[in-house]
Amino acid sequence: MTDKLVTFEVNGQELQAEAGSMLIEATDAAGINIPRFCYHKKLSIAANCRMCLVEVEKVPKPLPACATPVTEGMKVYTRSPKALAAQKGTMEFLLINHPLDCPICDQGGECELQDVAIGYGRDVSRYSEGKRVVADKNIGPLIATDMTRCIHCTRCVRFGEEIAGIREMGATGRGEHMVIGTYIEKSVDSEMSGNIIDLCPVGALTSKPFRFNARAWELTQVEAIAPHDSLGSNLNLHLRGNKVMRVHPKDNESINETWISDRDRFSYEGLYSSDRLTSPMVKKGGEWKEVSWEMALEMAAASLKEIGDGDQIGTLISPTSTLEELYLAQKLMRGLGCNNIDSRLRQGDFRMDATQNSVHWLGSTLSDMDQMQTVFVVGGNIRKEQPILAHRLRKAALNGAKLHYLNPIQIDLNHSGEQDICTPGEMAGRLAAVAKAAGVKASGGAASLLNAAQADESAKQTAANLKAADGALVMLGAMAQAHPDYALLHTIAAALAEATGAQLSILPASANSVGAQLAGAVPHLQAGGSVADHAGLDTLQMLKMPRKGYLLLGVEPGRDFWNGSLSMSALQSADLVVAISAFRSPELEECADILLPMAIFTETSGTYVNAEGRWQQSRGVVRPQGESRPGWKILRVLGNLTDQAGFDYTDSQQIHDEIHQLCESATLDNKQAAPQNLEPQLSADGLLRGGDTPLYACDPLVRRATALQQTQDAGSDTIRLHPEEAARLGLDGSDTALVKQNGNQIDLPLQLDERIPQGCVWISTSLARTSTLGQPFGEVTVEKA
């Protein structure tokens, strides 16, 4: 393909396009409509539906616009008698075996087949034979199938192969008997699977949670920003009245392209959980009582003030909160003399805070991700952390990039890549081996590890690929950040990046992980992202050295924390816990004294700063449920009630503008001085627990999205371990085992899994039962139940 422009004519209109590009791209760009079903700009060209046939001068047969390259001087007719005859012919064929059950079809009103049929179909069918009926398979809780409606465009099949990177759907059988589906009864497990609902031009694949809930024409569309991972994918919310009925992607080529993750698509279900906290409540004598807002706010303000010493308060804020909430919460608490503010609830080691003087970020723009030539992911299962980011890494891999992973578990990759797998205790050593291969000199906090490291072939290869690349990243994922020796991993990764010319990437975990740093919702940085005048305690310190009082914002004790049991015991022992929350939970009710119902995602306006530092604003588009109020309003009143100046906002835009001004000189930069004397905190010997936060366990909203919770990626309360490890522990043949960590114990089902390294047992965090244990990486014993 060349950049040369060619000039050609469509319906007498002169157009220009790059030589070799397809006709349909040019007509789409020029706003000339050619009907199509199989063509999709993000998928390979199949040219099988034959709907886009057009007449090209001097060519005897009609040609598919999707697969016909433009050439100089070409004359195209998209609506000539010959073109229309071909298009109408295809339409008739598509309809003979289509059930035409539009009145009961969820796609009705937004169906591409329906739309095109109006323009190109006939009113009476000439086909009088029996129509094809296809038996449906259950493909899981997210996608409903009515394959009798399928027109075999194969978009869903191509999506699996080309975008999701796992072939789950296929076209089995041949001819008229060809059936699109999974062939066997099997759930579709891609973390981006919901996109096939959008791709399907008919009602064959529709949203299961949305099924029969509304008709397309009853819905209004409003924009929003996804509030889970750090991408900030752009969404279109479809509302009926005051309710979010479903979520679709909004195209944004530089963020989510045309896709969204299943998490962003289906988490809206959690909004309507019966767990929603809908009125202010106060615990009196162990009983929860509904109270007025006025009373609740006054009590909260008074009790916080009553603690007197601000240092005796801990402030824990969800990193999925809006920028305005993060900012106001820290402003409120700093005003009360409390510097103990953190939003990094799942981080395992805060020793890097001491030298951090800038805002940590992805280290690259999202669109540059596709162009990376080498990416070395340390402690990350990106597909199951941030699916759309993983899609970009996959694109890089398909472009020929070398991807290397260092993890305490073998992960399922959907692209080519090398995996180095070791126990959690060996990770820093293995990373040091790569650094050593790259020529990093032993110095600073990681000196002893670097001295001891042996660079083997795989380490040398990783280092060489980093060095050779024009565009390389060393990326610290969620498992690295949850590691008790994150400071070591971070320090070595930074040195490795420096030695190889790669960028260090600190993958922000949540929707506002970057925003939280800019807002000062961390103990060591203040609003504007500069070093705090008075550094406070980090999350772990706040829990290890329990405070008298806590303010929680959008946080659920137990499940949102690195160490679930520690969070419970610290909060239970406090005199006062004020929780601003959208949801109730038994754990929260056990710990808290005052509950203030908060509006969340879709109900409140606010800003999200994504992994690459892009500020995106979302409006409140539905009324908050019950008496709940936007977080910024709650915090504003608490500011007023605690007699603080500067809390007189009348809308959230004012808060946004205030933060924006403070951030004018903020820099996103992962460079910092390496701390000295970093003693390893996790021993390399003995049985260790490994644990991830499952894709749908990450925040309170997702945990209440019922359909997502029925999928594989919801995770399970189990102990996974290598068969040989099970044998060594005398557990072969057992169904369950007793696991003990930090004095807590539970019995859990056992699952043999060859992907877990020996010397390690895998217990995911943040699940109903596992959150009663301790941290994801640490010493553990497992014995017969």
């Binding site: 759907m169 296929g170 089995t172 066997i184 126990t423 020996q758």
Partner: protein, 167 residues
């Protein structure tokens, strides 16, 4: 440490593995998938003439293919059977040259003799019948194939003799 992966040689008997490997060797190393048709045929022959989903899954594992890609192949080509067939699968051509040479009489004769129709298996499992498209032996119409063998210029009497000669 490295994590052990499933030992592929445990998927099939050594003999079957060796036969599949012979097909794999014909194609470029990165195109193991090319051996899927050969592998399915070998596995089908070894399983009394038909493929179970489990066998297809094993072929997928053996060739590093997604299972759905194997199902696509197995359901596309007519020689793969996804339901049990008789020990002797009788494939009768009924296409034009055979039809005009009275293949219908051969079909009728077989149906009467075996008590089954196309797509069915005799109760004792010895025979099944299948209607097939042109097998490229029109000069010997009417014709049929049993197992790997072609039988041409059929008459009911010849059919009787052929069936009697089968084990």
């Amino acid at each position: 440490m490295t994590v052990t992966v499933k030992d592929k040689t445990e998927l099939f008997s050594p003999q079957i593995c060796a036969e599949i490997d012979r097909w794999i060797a014909k194609y470029p190393a990165e195109w193991k998938q090319s051996a899927v048709m050969g592998a399915l045929m070998i596995v089908q022959d070894d399983n009394g003439g038909w493929l179970t989903t489990e066998l297809m899954d094993r072929v997928a594992d053996y060739l590093d293919m997604p299972p759905i890609a194997v199902y696509e192949v197995a359901t596309f080509y007519s020689m793969y059977e996804l339901k049990p067939v008789g020990k002797h699968k009788i494939c009768v051509c009924t296409n034009v040259s055979c039809m005009t040479n009275k293949s219908d009489l051969i079909v009728e004769h077989l149906e009467k003799k075996l008590g089954i129709s196309f797509g069915e298996v005799t109760e004792d499992g010895r025979f099944s019948m299948k209607e097939v498209e042109c097998l490229g032996a029109c000069g010997g119409a009417p014709m049929m194939q049993i197992g790997k063998q072609y039988y041409e210029n059929l008459t009911p009497e010849i059919v009787d003799a052929i069936l009697e000669g089968l084990e």
